[in-house]
């Protein structure tokens, strides 16, 4: 069983294995197909029309499925690899080991935002930004420039305390847990982290930055944490909602998976710290 670990706890060998698998997916072209898929959904998901990947209840199960597919691709390269998660409430400065040259590399230089160190720097020749919205082919970041602070633990806890999964009108104006976690409303969790990283992470082609996967692995973990806190709450809406993926509707682009299929992450992986049934699920 795959165990997703906090990125801060990875051994040097686990870091090497993870970045090597990323580079291999990039080399084969597999990586860029994930970027294309994400951008296609983020441009098509609208508050007033069909919405699947973002600004809708299926934001969480869609990204869970998307990450599972990506993790499976990584594991075809190296079966030992699992997606790490980045707890940005804890590792919240540009000095975090996440941004070290032996892992993701640091922030971009002032002149053009270009990341200059680490395995994904343009000069390595191994990380060209091919799926892009502007002419720049190099990975960019501006850590902490777009917004000063990452979300705090207290802000996360306030969102985790919300008992209702999602509410009508099931979009970026909704009240409830999903939209507060996504960040269109309230303290702003997920969206703010994209903005804090800057560069491609602030755009529709955000998976161009490998930190995308670790950010979303933590958002995914927060969904699991929320389920533990609210065992009586479930995914909403249940049925018959126009433009929105109900509990038993299939999700594009896979068309063979529903939010209901995604509710229990333990069918697919566990976290290094499982909030419940720790003795049963931890190895």
């Amino acid at each position: 069983m795959t165990v997703r670990k906090n990125q801060a706890a990875l051994t040097p060998e686990e870091r090497r294995a993870f970045t090597a698998a990323l580079l291999e997916l990039k080399r084969t072209g597999s990586y860029d197909r994930f970027v294309t898929t994400h951008n296609g959904f983020i441009m098509a998901d609208t508050d007033s029309g069909d919405r699947v990947g973002h600004r809708s209840p299926s934001f969480l199960p869609w990204h869970r499925r998307f990450l599972l597919e990506f993790e499976a691709a990584l594991q075809k390269v190296d079966a030992s690899v699992a997606l790490p998660y980045w707890d940005w409430t804890t590792d919240r400065t540009t000095r975090a080991s996440l941004w070290a040259p032996d892992f993701l590399g640091g922030t971009g230089r002032a002149r053009d935002g270009q990341v200059l160190d680490g395995p994904f720097a343009y000069a390595t020749g191994k990380w060209d930004i091919a799926v892009r919205v502007d002419g720049r082919a190099y990975l960019r970041r501006a850590l902490g420039a777009g917004v000063a602070q990452l979300p705090t633990k207290a802000e996360v806890d306030a969102v985790l305390a919300m008992p209702v999964y999602d509410m009508a009108p099931w979009n970026s104006s909704s009240n409830g847990f999903r939209n507060h976690l996504e960040g269109w409303r309230g303290a702003n969790l997920h969206n703010r982290v994209h903005v804090w990283v800057g560069g491609q992470m602030g755009t529709g082609v955000s998976p161009n930055d490998p930190v995308f996967w670790m950010h979303h692995a933590f958002v995914d973990k927060l969904w699991a944490d929320w389920q533990t806190r609210h065992p009586q709450s479930t995914y909403l809406p249940g049925a018959g909602t126009p433009n929105v993926v109900d509990l038993h509707d299939t999700m594009r682009p896979w068309n063979d998976v529903t939010p209901a299929d995604m509710l229990d992450h333990r069918k697919f992986y566990t976290f290094d710290t499982e909030p419940t049934a720790a003795s049963a699920s931890q190895r």
Binding site: G49, M167, A168, W184, T203
Partner: protein, 130 residues
């Protein structure tokens, strides 16, 4: 729980009206739910300005491009002649493909934010990996 259900039901109809708000039902939706944002769309100004050396052109309601998944009222926003993909949020704020996780009050401030982020780079046409 009944109260929440009623509010959810009301919210759904408000959302449906918002969806139609850019077409024939605009006046009704504006009057009942969100006058400010609906009005903002209806009165989006034509902009032709040079900002930080880049030409920003905004044409209200000229959208409906590339596949038509957007509402017909979406303005066309161009930077040096290249179209910037923009989207209106339910609360009347705006995002673009350059700033996709940060909202702006109007298309002009959105386009200016894109110019700042681009740092001189040219936009790539929609859907294309240039």
């Amino acid at each position: 729980m009944n109260k929440i259900t009623r509010r959810q039901a009301l919210g759904t109809s408000a959302g449906a009206l918002t969806a139609l708000g850019l077409t024939a039902a605009a006046a009704t939706a504006a009057a009942r739910t969100e006058p400010a944002s609906a009005a903002a769309v209806g009165t989006a100004r034509t902009i032709d300005e040079v900002y930080q050396g880049r030409r920003i052109q905004i044409a209200p309601g000229a959208g409906g491009h590339h596949g038509g998944h957007h509402s017909p009222g979406t303005p066309s926003v161009r930077i040096d002649g290249r179209e910037l993909h923009v989207m209106r949020n339910a609360d009347g704020s705006w995002i673009s493909v350059i700033n996709h996780y940060e909202t702006y009050a109007d298309p002009t401030s959105l386009a200016r934010a894109a110019v700042r982020d681009l740092q001189g780079a040219a936009l790539v046409p929609f859907g294309g990996a240039a």
